[in-house]
Amino acid sequence: QEASPQQVVVEKKPDELVLKVDSKLDLKNPSSQQSTTMVIKAEQVSGQPDRVIHLDHQVEVTRGNLNFSADKATYLQVEDQLDASGKVKLQRNGDCYSGDLMRFILETGAGYVQNPSYYFAKNNGQGRADKIEFENEEKAKITNGTYSTCEGLDPDWYLRADTMSLDTGLDTGIAGKSVLYFKGVPIMGTPSWLNFSFPLSGARHSGLLPPTVGHSNKGGVEFGMPYYFNIAPNRDFTLHPKLIARRGLQLGMEGRYLGETYGGETAIEVIRDKLTETTRYAGASVHRQSLTPGLVFSWNMNKASDNDYPADFSNSTTKTAQRLLVRDIGLDYYGSIWNASLRSTSYQVLQDVTAPITLPYERLPQLSFRAGQSDVFGLDWSVDASMTRFWHPTLTRGQRAVINPQLSLPFIQPAYFVVPKVSFHATSYQIDNPMAGQPDRLQRTVPSFSVDSGLIFERRASLLGNKMTQTLEPRLFYVNTPFRDQKDYPLFDTALADFNFAQIFSENRFTGHDRIGDSNQVTAAVVSRFIEDNGAERFKFALGQRFYFNTQKVSLDGISSPSRSDLLLAGTGQISDTLNVEAALQVSQSDRQSVRSNYAVRWQPAPKKILNLQYQFQREVLKQLELSGQWPVAHRWYVVGKSNYSLQNSKMVEGLAGFEYRADCWALRFVAHRFATTNLSNNSGFSIQLELNGLARIGFGSNPVETLKKNISGYQATN
């Protein structure tokens, strides 16, 4: 029984760097040379049978996977040795060595070629040298040779080394004292003691990752030279040393591991910062392990040494935009009808004086339990319970226990559904430091009744020229929850939820358990989908609104709610297979103005050719236009860009521009970025990356390609 492929992807990474669990080595079958016949051709031959054969003019010898050609050659039968001279050429498994003089023992694969030029089929590697000595079928030693993956006689880049040992068995090439030339200019040299290794095939392999040179307003010129250790098919380690002009040497390390039942990744950066005279660091560690098939232990730890670390050292908004670093460790049990988890979660706040952030509550620990079954004598039941100890240095601290059983009687038919549901929300608080006059114990029980109902209509319709099934799905959702006075209840994990299509069909308008909104309301919505004949959803339009029959008393900010909620409109569609449109709008009924809206258009006429235009609006929070894209502007040239312009305070919040030049055997990437890190300061800079195919492969971590991918949806690496 073929189980689904056991391949745990630790985190989204470029495909070739995905760790594989199976670590069995596939044994290469040694193609024995002796057992195959040998065919010799030449214009003139002489010699002694079974001892020696002299061959002249148009000589060609083939045996097994070996094929020689030369002007002149002598074959010694007993020693199984072939000496050849004059335009000598040896081909083996696609690799090709040519030179002036050659000696080769066919049986062992040992021998040498004088001033050879060579070509390796696996990764298009080639070069010339004074001499190449074959130790056996897999190992060869090159003296004073060059190596490059560029075609042609004068390659754009090549590595010249006084000694190079190639091992096609281990897929490694190791160069001794070597100099790297790019367009004829020596750009890097390695001393003889640091042997410089490079992969001979595309497979994952220890070696240098493309160096990056850059500059940022936070640290001046930067030079990064990551090195990748392929420890095992399911373990690897990357070293990111980065020299930052004004701050010093930053050492970054990242280890990844993956086993049958566990997987994880830990990254640490440390620097002795010359500017601040302090040691600054940042760490992130993710681990997930299933102790038994149902029990999973996991952690997600993040730490930064000081508030400005990301802003000073990172060149992408994915790091600087998040001021809260989660520290979470926990145990989850997944049973068949129930699951439970014991977690402890807290946050490190990267404080910003200009817009202070309150420290979130720490939940040390939180025990939660969830069980449920469906269709038990026609009933669905579920219970949600949790016990949490909320801790905070200044705000009220305490324990909270919640139990929330729910029972529903679903009538589901293809054409309609009616789901009456009764739920009961019981909470009890135990406050450690109540304010004067406030009770230290609070209980609250709130019953709630809701009915969800809907009809599903269908008809054949055609849109933009193709036949589809159009659905019309009206839906009514009534909720009745009595009022409970909760104004002196603490606010641990509750806030007003976003008003969206997921929320308008849930009972409580608040998230978390500290506030149960009183409600006597009905939500009406209608959804229409256009579904292609293969079942794919091509278009979807939705319209929804909530009607309140009472004025809601439970609120966080004291504003009483109007009789009708905001109106929700949403539409998504694949206009053609290259044009995709999305729109979502929340219109307030009181002032007919939009409270929140997102519009997005994506045009992707071809892979690696994409343009996104997005408009995001949140009343009093943000009003932004974003244009991002990747476009091939000329042969081998790709332009990449993103600009996030805030219309509210008319300044560019985030900008990113770059180009990629892709030659056949190397690629140059330039990315400049500028984004705000606090009200007053921003992080701007650029980085250049030179990728030499086959010599140093694209890694991950802080290289520009990675930031492009995260910032431009739909971006595809061009190599």
């Binding site: 002796q34 057992s35 195959t36 016949t37 040998m38 065919v39 010799i40 051709k41 030449a42 214009e43 003139q44 031959v45 002489s46 010699g47 002694q48 049978p49 079974d50 054969i53 002249d56 003019h57 148009q58 060609e60 039968q77």
Partner: protein
């Protein structure tokens, strides 16, 4: 093999004709030349005699059948050489055999072919166990005139040959 040098060469044919002036003998029909282990069969042949006891025999087949050659070789147990060609020249003094035009020579060890040579001109000197091959019937190499092909079986095969009782 070397022992053949001491043996007498005798030639038989259905019809022979001797020309005293040129001292040549012409043979026709089932010509057969033997000398110790050496054996050559052909359709017709011409034998010349030289005063110092040397001389050469030229044998040729006719349409459809080539000249056949066979001789034992020194340097190992049960080593033989066999050959076919449109025309064969045998020099009685130097004991060099020349196979001319569409020539094929096979070296056998215990009835197994260890090496096979194909070409326009092949020669074998049984005294010194030396062979040559070129791409033109003249025996001289013609640049670009096609190539000789030699196919040799891997030598490791001896062990599995059945020791047949000689």
């Amino acid at each position: 093999e070397k022992a053949d040098s001491q043996k007498r060469t005798n030639i038989s044919a259905e019809y022979t004709e001797f020309d005293g002036k040129t001292n040549t003998k012409t043979l026709k029909g089932k010509v057969e030349l033997t000398r110790g282990t050496l054996l050559i069969r052909a359709e017709n042949g011409v034998e010349t005699e030289t005063p110092d006891g040397g001389g050469a025999v030229t044998l040729s087949g006719h349409a459809g059948s080539q000249v056949f050659f066979r001789q034992k070789r020194d340097g190992g147990e049960d080593l033989w050489i066999e050959g076919l060609a449109d025309r064969v020249e045998y020099d009685k003094k130097t004991e060099v055999v020349r196979f001319i035009s569409k020539a094929q020579v096979r070296y056998l060890s215990q009835q197994k072919v260890t090496q096979e040579q194909n070409g326009e001109f092949l020669s074998y000197d049984s005294v010194n166990d030396v062979f040559t091959a070129t791409n033109s019937t003249s025996g001289k190499r013609v640049p670009g005139g096609g190539r000789v092909t030699i196919t040799s079986e891997p030598k490791g095969k001896k062990s599995d040959a059945k020791p047949d009782n000689k």
